[in-house]
């Protein structure tokens, strides 16, 4: 069964360092998302991506964050200068369709646990 994969599973970094989190969405999906979940808190939307551009981003997704689809399979989230409060689980998701009159079933990867020291 197709699934979303993410690497690495766990990333430890020093404050101020850049990190790149990688995702391989399900192959025929067109819409890609990043969410994060701080320990003990709810899953929060960061950004959505379609047709090689950002569709929507949340207030969390400031200038320190960027996303890219460098080739036909990978979808990356870059944090330029990590802060302590960036420590969280980061989930990539993908869907075949968008919403409107069609339901938007998003399938999640296993997540990357980012620890900023």
């Amino acid at each position: 069964e197709p699934e979303v994969t993410q690497t690495p599973s766990h990333q430890v970094t020093q404050m101020g360092q850049e990190v790149i989190l990688r995702c391989v969405p399900i192959s025929n999906h067109l819409y890609f998302y990043w969410y994060r979940q701080i320990l003990g808190q709810k899953v929060e939307f960061l950004v959505s991506f379609y047709n090689n551009e950002i569709s929507e981003k949340s207030e969390i997704f400031d200038d320190q964050f960027s996303v890219e689809r460098p080739d036909g399979s990978n979808f990356t989230l870059k944090i330029r200068s990590t802060k302590l409060e960036d420590s969280a689980m980061y989930f990539c998701a993908s869907s075949a369709t968008s919403g409107g009159f069609y339901y938007n079933e998003q399938f999640f990867g296993p997540g990357t646990r980012l620890t900023v020291l």
């Binding site: 899953v43 569709s55 999640f108 990867g109 646990r113």
Partner: protein, 112 residues
Amino acid sequence: TQLLEQSPQFLSIQEGENLTVYCNSSSVFSSLQWYRQEPGEGPVLLVTVVTGGEVKKLKRLTFQFGDARKDSSLHITAAQPGDTGLYLCAGVTIQGAQKLVFGQGTRLTINP
């Protein structure tokens, strides 16, 4: 800002009992999804409800979408220890990029 309030946040019951988890909002969603999340893993989609009043069954789990598409419930009949886990509801926004708005989750424990 669209919010989904999920209740209860914690529920511990005995095997064989029935339970209901609620997901409420003042906002309308185009659809609502229920996920189950195991520790250290990503949410796994259980079901999507789309039409107001829709009811979907998944074995002993019954999901309902409110008539106004603002609320949903998950009912488990004769709960089993294997049902133990974190259940999340997530609404799909109508406007914009149809992002998911998550509730805070219900941590369910079924005791043998």
